[in-house]
Homo-oligomer: 436 residues x 2
Amino acid sequence: MQAIKAGLIGFGTVGSGVFRVLRRNLEEISRRAGRPIEISIVAVRRVDVAHRQIGTTCHITDDAFEVVRHPEVEIVIELIGGHEQAYQLALEAINNGKHLVTANKAMLAIYGDEIFRAAQSQGVMVGFEAAVAGGIPIIKALREGLSANHIEWVAGIINGTTNFILSKMRDKGLPFAEVLKEAQRLGYAETDPTFDVEGVDAAHKATLIASIAFGIPINFAAAYVEGISSLDAIDINYAEQLGYRIKLLGIARKKKNGVELRVHPTLIPEKRLLANVEGAMNAVLVKADAVGPTLYYGMGAGSEPTASAVIADMVDVTRMATADPENRVPHLAFQPDQLHELPILPIGECESAYYLRLCVADQPGVLASIAQIFAAQYISIGAVLQREPHSGENETDLVLLTHTCKEASVDSAIAEIGQLQSVRGKVVRLRMEDLS
Amino acid sequence: MQAIKAGLIGFGTVGSGVFRVLRRNLEEISRRAGRPIEISIVAVRRVDVAHRQIGTTCHITDDAFEVVRHPEVEIVIELIGGHEQAYQLALEAINNGKHLVTANKAMLAIYGDEIFRAAQSQGVMVGFEAAVAGGIPIIKALREGLSANHIEWVAGIINGTTNFILSKMRDKGLPFAEVLKEAQRLGYAETDPTFDVEGVDAAHKATLIASIAFGIPINFAAAYVEGISSLDAIDINYAEQLGYRIKLLGIARKKKNGVELRVHPTLIPEKRLLANVEGAMNAVLVKADAVGPTLYYGMGAGSEPTASAVIADMVDVTRMATADPENRVPHLAFQPDQLHELPILPIGECESAYYLRLCVADQPGVLASIAQIFAAQYISIGAVLQREPHSGENETDLVLLTHTCKEASVDSAIAEIGQLQSVRGKVVRLRMEDLS
């Protein structure tokens, strides 16, 4: 059968992985897809360098727009970084009647609604499995595998860089800055690590997950985002003493009055599988009404894991290329006219349990006055850990775990506690999720 | 849009779950599927009992063949046990041009090739996500999510009953027979538990997994099957001392000369996520060349988890109902004319590491003579655990862990060891997989 022709934009880590895996597994992939998939044009930054890697089997250009305009190309694979140029390319590809496969979560978190609308009106598909959790087929699981369910919440370790750093901080008891340097040396973190360590990348992915899980438009701007750069190694240690691990989670939870969409360091009971996802691995835990909890685990980044997801989308597109558009799986799981607006709740309205660390004077009555403030806010305390003051010190760390309550209440309590004379410095506050 | 009409055969645990979830989540499911899914006829054993549960919204019959012959029914949901009658019903449904959704692994492991051939020639779909690992969308992951990959092996905890029993045996240090009784009391094991505890159910599922992973015809007869009924609690204990957990695994591994397809109790390093899957939960670990390891975890049985998978298939069928048959996902992942025959290796040709427990005389030279036998078979020993003999005893347990070798070699070594005067009774042998 005649090959389906694809055009590849970008030949970096992921692009070269797509090229390599497609060539290596061509026979097996064709046996699955029903016809061969061929990359007939590649847009790269430096044509001379690419020639050595790609060979002469396909046309190489340094003009990405040549790919999206090429008459032979049926699928455009967009694998460049950033969102502005990628968006222009994606839109032009779609408007030229080409299917699009992309790993670009930033672009989709910002322009997704517009891109999917354009694809819908052109009758083309947009595959973006690679945009969330790399090689783990989590988009497919949410969109198709769990389609019977009312999805209650999704919580995921969806950024490998931060999970690598947190695992190392815990393992070695080292501070963030030191581990970040090691991660950069090993290639797990970028030279400018901001997007990863500040939680922006995870928030892009969580935003897409929320849309697919709950059938709501994409709303990255409303996501609450907090990274790990200010996380203190001592809190990882205290959390561990209390039976918890700290992970950067992306959380999307459906509540009666709206959707919680938030990314932040989170204490998880150490017995949960999610707490035991180490290094650069990713995992997504989904809680749904019929199936209960399901978990999906694998490599969230890297050349070939991401290529695996890109090519899976290419196979899906190939299998479905001639099917009626209305019979394809909807981009955001729900039919496009069936997306419902739901408010994304401000973080103060979100509910969580909390880990609080206070530096307190070693004197009688301190715990009583703090406990009273919590009681007045109707916040119950689940556990307390107080370190013996070192000899000569007249202050010590007091760690409290609260039960679930509204974030605004905890913030009020913290503000009041900050007024106490016996409390020194800033109160450290981390969120805690039971995930049961 | 007009509803798609389904007919349900069987209203037991799963059937009633399908009915309940479909009714509860109808609005959300329709928003995903693009049109409502309606069960218009249900075949049950006792019509009077069913009337109370089902109400009067759909026709109830005690003749299953009425469902597969009903002109309005587009999807037949087959949820009865056993394989003979189910097979007759499935075949007639297909030959009447109806799509089939089934949770019946026994039927598919035995008659799958024939059923898929019939479906192919009739241009209808057969959904069987619920047949493997209940609510976990593992069929979809293997068939679509990982389609870029050369799959190397799959190892799964795919029977909840045995995992529940093994977890309890370890937790409480209780013998198999006692825990089985508790499992029966709690509803985790059937009155006749043979199919579960002897590994047959897991082998049905592993057989389907092997076909989908490697693109080979279904060959249940060639699977090696060993259950947990003769597992001794002491081996669970020794395994734990050595850093391992024992799980009943279904393993499908592609080798150069064929496919390993086997179900048996298996030692797994306790650090692996799979080793920490407890109770009735299921999990499947897939090792593929591009994506690396991915793991899928969730409830492998039960009313609503299984219903989740059944309904997901119904949504897939609904979405794809009017698409060209050649553009649908192939039943066994590979296009029907692209299945390749590969031999299933006899167990003697399979490779594994081994746990061996011997009762040996407490006298000098025993270990040396045993070690010599292994050396002669080129089997290297990875670890040794020897219990101090209790006072008054003149024999003790010796536990050995081998490195990976061919099963036939270990069997030869065991036969020779059995001849040693210093070795008492039967050598206990368990397989061990590193899963890395």
